[in-house]
């Protein structure tokens, strides 16, 4: 028995340049002590699973899962001239309305190259720092953070200062009972709504907590000083709702939620329109057309992109994974599967793929080929599993 296709996101290939051995994160010992199976990912050793991907996935959907995402890059941007100058500078590469963010508000955005290709996807927040000055806090993917920093150093004006907060760990607590568990330790977090954030304190440690995540569930992301990360993880783990969850379930949860994974579903060859992330291009920015690649992206918005990221429901139970081809009747390759696997919540095989625009409507039948075997699939609206975010207008648990 040999491996044919392991999820490529669990391979070492994403390690940053010049780093041979995977790096150790603050919670390494914590994971090992709880049975975490450690694998190299994005240049770090990370837990792929504890008791098993299926059980961890389902636990997160019904209770609360604790994820260590300390490999991600936490960046802080400031400028002498103030936060508006930072926002203006970032807007040259980000198509979102960064200047319009209120304090404690966050937005999903994209780092674009001059051709409008996606260099990374990220979360950007405006917040007040300890001295009361506003700054921009950004969380970027672990595998791309050093490339992002290099690019930003090149293109940002000199008066903008960028600081990688590598002394901070990042935890995510996701699931319908996350709010119950976290509010017991950190009263007040229940007042946050989806895509808002604020400063909190726990046992004398400053926490930056946002109501956001990568599972489609309600939940929180918690930036914590590295030296307090294990104690906080212990305290969360002691809550009855909480179990630790590895990268394996993180991937199946985000796939069900229809959320793209950078380096797989998004890369420098894809634009926001191709990736079906047009919502990340804010109206004010469209009208001004003043961001990297605006000409191409706005033309694609008008005319439609030639290929589009879609969701697929695959017939039968066999997973069709990244690398499989989308083929025409005559067998010609017309698209590619960029993520795929078994969806534990649905008990079915699902995937994301890029297909020609005329095949992108939900309900369209497409044919996939993986290792010489043909699989029938149907284009499906995403998310595959409904999001359960707690929004401003909703009551708890809605």
């Amino acid at each position: 028995m040999t491996d044919l296709a392991t999820e490529t996101q669990l391979n070492v290939e994403d390690a940053p340049e010049g780093v041979d051995e995977p790096q150790i994160l603050p919670l390494d010992g914590w994971h090992r002590a709880r049975g975490g199976r450690m694998v190299p990912f994005a240049g770090y050793l990370m837990p792929v699973q504890y008791e098993g991907i299926m059980a961890e996935h389902l636990w997160t959907r019904e209770s609360a899962g604790l994820f260590d995402v300390s490999h991600m890059g936490q960046l802080v941007f400031t400028a002498e001239a103030g936060v508006d100058a930072v926002a203006r500078a970032l807007e040259a590469m980000l198509p979102g309305d960064i200047g319009g963010l209120g304090e404690g508000r966050m937005r999903y955005s994209l780092l674009l190259n001059e051709e409008g290709g996606i260099l990374d996807d990220l979360m950007v927040t405006r917040r007040a720092n300890a001295t009361g000055e506003d700054e921009i806090y950004m969380v970027v993917n672990g595998a791309t953070k050093y490339d992002d920093i290099g690019y930003l150093l090149d293109v940002l004006p000199e008066d903008v200062t960028m600081n990688l907060q590598d002394e901070q760990a990042l935890l995510a607590l996701q699931g319908p009972k996350a709010v119950d568990a976290l509010a017991r330790l950190v009263p007040g977090v229940e007042a946050l709504v989806f895509m808002t954030a604020g400063s909190f304190s726990w046992n004398g440690h400053a926490l930056w907590i946002s109501r956001s995540g990568y599972t489609g569930e309600d939940g929180f992301e918690i930036s914590v000083p590295a030296e307090a990360a294990a104690a906080l993880a212990d305290a969360l783990y002691a809550e009855p709702e909480v179990k630790p969850i590895g990268l394996g379930a993180r991937d199946s949860l985000r796939l069900e939620a229809g959320l793209p994974l950078y380096g797989h579903d998004l890369d420098p060859e894809t634009t926001p329109v191709m990736a079906d992330l047009g919502f990340a291009v804010s109206k004010r920015r469209r009208d001004a057309a003043d961001f990297a690649g605006a000409g191409r992206i706005l033309a694609e918005r008008e005319a439609g992109a030639a290929v589009r990221r879609v969701g697929l429901l695959v017939s039968g139970r066999q997973p069709v994974r990244e690398g499989a081809s989308v083929v025409a009747e005559d067998g010609a390759v017309i698209g590619r599967v960029t993520s795929g696997g078994f969806a534990p919540t649905l008990g079915a095989a699902i995937a994301m793929a890029y297909v020609p625009a005329d095949l992108a409507a939900p309900g369209t039948g497409v044919r996939l080929v993986q290792r010489g075997k043909v699989h029938e699939a149907t284009v499906a609206a995403m998310p595959f599993v409904p999001h359960r975010y707690v929004r401003a207008s909703a009551t708890k648990g809605a």
Binding site: M1, T2, D3, A5, S252, R317
Partner: protein, 122 residues
């Protein structure tokens, strides 16, 4: 008599008939199994040929035939219950049965004690 391969297949031999599956160690490494593709009845397999595919949540793996022979039947129960491979890898979770064409091939396989020693070193 039961034999094992270094690729973590087992074969239980009774006369000319062998029953093949993957070991409990292998299912533990693979994790949650969600799909098994077993060989068609009558298919002729050489020793080491790709005979079946097993898919867990995280990976797809080939399963090789430990010996040469002709497939008698695949385990149809795995179509609806692939997790039988997790719960009972060396029993109800068998993959296929075949008629051996060369019993001498069994001599190159490990017995249970040798396999346990092999796994202990991994």
């Amino acid at each position: 008599m039961r034999y094992f391969t270094e690729d973590h297949e087992w074969i239980e031999v009774d006369g000319q008939i062998g029953t093949v599956g993957i070991t409990d160690y292998a299912q533990g490494q693979l994790g949650d199994i969600v799909f098994v593709d077993v060989p068609a009845d009558g298919r002729s397999l050489g020793k080491g040929d790709e005979a079946a595919v097993v898919e867990s949540v995280k990976a797809a793996s080939d399963v090789y035939s430990p010996v040469s022979g002709t497939v008698l039947e695949g385990n149809t129960a795995l179509a609806d219950q692939p997790d039988l491979v997790n719960s009972d890898a060396e029993g109800e979770g068998w993959f296929f049965r075949l008629t051996l064409s060369d019993e001498a091939e069994l001599e190159s396989l490990m017995d249970e004690a040798a396999y346990e020693a092999f796994v202990a070193k991994l």
